[in-house]
């Protein structure tokens, strides 16, 4: 057992009587184990999952004031602990045997949470899937993809190689990755910041008035599909890539009196669609930036 775990336990155990419950998942055999835990909450819960093993995390919501955690772990070489302190619920997996192979380190989690819940989820591989949850969320993955559907809040997604698909998301979204791609579909997001080094970016949806949208890919494609009723200022720049403007008839010179010019080292496209209420900044180092109007 790692020292940090021992310390954490020694600090937690004396206060169990004060409302903290710590529960390791035990099992007698090495077969995959399934465990279900129920946690009653009063307000908006904060659910933290830190999965040092591999595996999938799936979160759905319901109208009950209860968090249900269902998990399976592949072997005894990985331990899973749950802990509740008021409305905070922690689920942590840890490797108890360093000889464990990737398969033995697998732990999958399924959560059912109240509609308004804050999430902090971290896994190594395997999908992170969140549906119909409102609340701030921080989602981290190395190689696993992140799929979000009908979520809202301040959403921060960080991956190394995993990709993001965000469908009907609302609020604010930040995505950062090295080789992962990002697809943002039918959003109602007022603030978007997407960064990837070699992945692609697709934004297909409306721009909220006064919204700020910044999308950058080092080598990948940055594609924006807007609607005829959209209103935004556009600033698109690439160092050695190309700008593919398929919406020239909608793009007018900037109407706000600010004259933009690309530097002599880069290619740029500046203009306004509609009244220019939102601000859209697109950038790529060597990839293609494509702007088109949806059918």
């Amino acid at each position: 057992m790692k020292l940090s775990t021992v310390l954490r336990r020694s600090a937690i155990l004396p206060v169990i009587g004060a409302g903290v419950l710590l529960s390791p998942w035990m099992a007698a055999n090495a077969a995959p184990q399934r465990v279900e835990k129920h946690f009653t909450v009063k307000g908006r819960p904060v659910v933290v999952i830190r999965n040092v093993g591999n595996g999938r995390i799936e979160v759905k919501s319901w109208k009950n004031s209860e968090v249900v955690v269902t998990g399976t772990k592949a072997s005894e070489k990985i331990a899973v602990e749950t802990e509740q302190a008021g409305d905070r619920i922690d689920v942590t997996s840890s490797i108890v045997d360093s000889t464990a192979n990737a398969r033995e380190m697998e732990a999958n989690f399924q959560l059912t949470v109240p509609e308004e819940t804050e999430l902090q989820l971290k896994t190594q591989t395997g999908l992170i899937y969140v549906e119909q949850v409102t609340g701030d969320m921080t989602l981290d993955s190395v190689a696993g993809d992140v799929h979000l559907k009908e979520v809202s809040g301040y959403i921060i997604v960080t991956t190394t190689g995993g990709s993001l698909v965000c469908t009907q998301c609302a609020g604010k979204l930040e995505f950062s990755s090295i080789s992962g791609s990002a697809q943002v579909l039918q959003p109602t997001l007022s603030n978007v910041k997407l960064r990837t080094m070699t992945g692609n970016i697709l934004f297909d949806g409306d721009f909220v008035h006064t919204g700020l949208y910044s999308m950058r890919s080092g080598k990948g494609l940055v594609e924006v599909r807007f609607s005829g009723s959209d209103s935004f200022d556009l600033n698109a720049q690439t160092a050695t890539g190309t700008v593919d403007n398929q919406a020239a008839q909608y793009l007018k010179p900037d109407s706000h009196g600010v004259k933009h010019m690309a530097s002599k080292f880069s290619k740029g496209l500046f203009g306004t669609v509609g009244m220019g209420f939102a601000k859209v900044e697109l950038s790529s180092y060597s990839g293609t930036i494509r702007i088109l109007k949806r059918d």
Partner: protein, 114 residues
């Protein structure tokens, strides 16, 4: 730790200083590159000494490190050819930061698995 050092090195180059360095044709990123190279070297030694490191996660991390290094090499070439290309410099700076974060994550992982 490496992230803090790299952030400091990248952040401690005001524009005037960068211009001055450009004029003297020195490499403003030299110290950053040195720190990152050393860290990468340490990481390679750590991985050689470790029995772990063969999982899909480790493979993904290594693959991404290769991609970051390729991208950095590309940006470095561009910045060398066109030292005043601000956009290329911006991408290069961000790439160094991402490399620092990635190396930190790999070191942490190596440490926790050993």
């Amino acid at each position: 730790m490496v992230m803090i050092v790299v952030a400091f090195l990248l952040g401690s180059q005001p524009r005037d200083q960068v211009r001055q360095v450009q004029q003297t044709q020195e490499d403003p990123y030299a110290s950053t590159v040195t720190v990152l190279s050393q860290q990468e070297h340490d990481l390679a030694n750590m991985q050689l000494a470790s029995t772990a490191g063969n999982s899909a996660v480790d493979a993904s991390l290594r693959q991404n490190l290769e991609q970051v290094n390729e991208f950095i090499a590309d940006c470095e070439r561009r910045v060398k050819e066109e030292p005043s290309d601000e956009l290329a410099r911006e991408y290069l700076t961000n790439a160094y930061q991402q490399k620092a974060q990635l190396l930190s994550a790999m070191m942490d992982r190596g440490g926790s698995l050993n």
